[in-house]
């Protein structure tokens, strides 16, 4: 089992969600985050005083998947979230030690 974490531009969330649904991904957790990679930020003025807008709004998706679905999910996210402009985001894949479904107590691949 793997945990996929994807950071994408906020307006791409719907496209990514639909693309994942199309390949059979059944669940995802989404949070609103801020971040920057090499995109960096810019300065603005508020009442004449400068402030740096370093952290840009992003959306983070976390999905637990069986190993067989990982490649398809990565492909789906990459295609849906891509704009070609700087700041499109990143996908992180990590090993998942275990998954438990709270309602039924199932564990392991059935709980994914």
């Amino acid at each position: 089992m793997k945990m996929i974490t994807a950071v994408v531009k906020p307006f791409k969330l719907d496209d990514v969600r639909e693309a994942l649904a199309a390949i059979g991904v059944q669940g995802v957790t989404v949070s609103e985050v801020k971040g920057f990679g090499r995109q960096k930020g810019h300065t603005e003025l508020y009442r004449g005083a400068e402030y740096v807008v370093d952290f840009l709004p992003k959306v983070k998706l976390e999905l637990a998947l069986g190993d067989d679905m990982v490649d398809g999910a990565v492909e789906a996210i990459t295609t849906a979230a891509h704009t070609g402009k700087i700041g499109d985001g990143k996908i992180f894949i990590s090993d998942l030690q275990d998954v438990i479904r709270i309602r039924t107590g199932e564990a392991g691949p059935e709980a994914v």
């Binding site: 603005e44 003025l45 508020y46 009442r47 004449g48 005083a49 400068e50 402030y51």
Partner: protein, 417 residues
């Protein structure tokens, strides 16, 4: 005049005072929303509490002593005739008819119209000291300001005291209300110090953006609407043709000045900063309103627009300048009400008001500013020694909502997009 006419005019002019008073009361909501929009979320409940409480304190202190101090005094005098008491009395029908219309409004309606002005003056202070002052220290100051400091200088002008006798002109309170509030605010801000992180040692000014722009915008519009009562009601009468025309002119000019101030501030901010700044536009409209408040009658609409525009221009540069002097004013209150209040008082000399003289205006400006600033400074200083006026550093970082109120303003809001 026939008794019926006297009766109807009495009722109409009383009603006018009451409606205008209600409009000025509504400005309290405007200040509250404006300030709530320009502070950070973690400090919002505290500024709301300050604003709702100061309104209640202002009205109560004015009832207990302020009205008597302000309107019980002798002609051309310096001291009031009495210090405490109610001072509110309605004439009877017989007395009104016997006066042949000289008594043309209910005494209680006059109190009501005046009491809401006190709250306006006090409310100017709350924005300037936002985000780092102890709540109860502020409320303690409010007691002193609304029970004593404001009524004394109000008496010198509107109560027929020595400033009035000196020919000082201030129709609705650019000086008596707005500059007075700003002077008290300035004294407080000097003793309070700037917010942590606002200014760096090497002279940089850091932005601390407000949490809720919609509230700031609606606050401006509420103040704008309330100002029709503020200036319009200060004509003090509507029940004949001349007065009705005057009131209408005042409404037109008040509105025009706000528009001029907003447009000027928006354009100036764009030229200076490179983008339109909503908070400056809001300050600009209010500056326009403050600028016209000393003389909203003796202009045409174009003149009023220009007076407002000058106020709007001034306010942008004043905000920048105060920051250069490390006077931290989160909402621009000192600039809008103090700097532009002074402009409004001087502009009376340009208006065609035959009673206005430069000497008279400068006297009023000097006396009101000196009195208010010095007594406020003393009051703030004493409060500072007794209980402290500033929250601790840790409390400032966590937000005064937590330390002073224990209630979050936006408890379920997620972080911004």
């Amino acid at each position: 005049m026939s008794p019926e006419i006297i009766e109807v005019k009495y009722a109409l002019d009383t009603f006018y005072f009451l409606v205008c008073g209600a409009l000025v009361m509504w400005m309290a909501a405007g200040f509250t929303m404006l300030e709530a929009g320009l502070v950070r979320s973690k400090n919002t409940t505290e500024i709301l509490t300050k604003n709702v409480a100061l309104f209640a304190i202002s009205c109560t202190m004015y009832l207990l002593m302020g009205y008597v101090i302000m309107y019980g005094g002798s002609e051309g005098g310096f001291l009031p005739d009495a210090w405490f008491g109610n001072g509110i009395s309605n004439a009877t029908a017989e007395e009104v008819l016997a006066s042949n219309g000289d008594t043309y409004y209910s005494g209680a309606s006059d109190f009501f119209f005046q009491v809401v002005f006190v709250a306006t003056a006090m409310s100017i202070v709350s924005g300037a000291v936002a985000e780092r002052m102890k709540l109860w220290a502020f409320l303690a100051f409010a007691v002193v300001m609304t029970g004593f400091i404001y009524p004394m200088q109000g008496m010198w002008k509107w109560g027929g005291g020595f400033l009035d006798a000196a020919g000082f002109q201030d129709f609705a309170g650019s000086g008596v209300v707005h500059m007075c509030g700003a002077a008290a605010a300035l004294a407080g801000v000097i003793l309070l110090g700037a917010r942590k992180g606002k200014y760096t040692a090497d002279g940089r000014v850091n932005a601390i953006p407000g949490a809720n722009m919609p509230l700031a915008a609606i606050g401006m519009f509420i103040l704008w609407m309330g100002w029709f009562g503020f200036n319009g009601g200060s004509e003090l009468k509507v029940s004949d043709i001349g007065e009705a025309n005057a009131v209408a002119d005042i409404f037109v000019n008040t509105n025009a000045a706000a528009c001029g101030g907003l447009i000027a501030a928006l354009i100036v901010a764009h030229l200076v900063f490179g983008k339109a700044d909503l908070t400056m536009a809001v300050n600009g409209a209010l500056a326009g309103l403050v600028a016209i408040t000393a003389e909203p009658l003796n202009w045409g609409g174009i003149g009023a627009t220009l007076i407002g525009a000058a106020g709007g221009t001034l306010v942008v540069f004043s905000v920048i300048t105060l920051d250069k002097f490390k006077i931290d004013d989160p909402v621009g209150a000192i600039s809008v009400h103090g700097v532009v209040g002074i402009w409004g008082l001087l502009a009376v000399c340009l208006s065609g008001n035959e009673d206005a003289t430069l000497i008279g205006q400068l006297t009023g400006i000097g006396v009101i500013f000196a009195w208010t600033f010095i007594t406020s400074f003393i009051a703030w200083f004493i409060i500072k020694q007794v209980m402290g006026i500033r929250v601790g550093e840790q409390e400032e970082y966590e937000g005064v909502d937590a330390s002073e109120c224990g209630i979050e303003a936006y408890p379920e809001f997620n972080s911004a997009k």
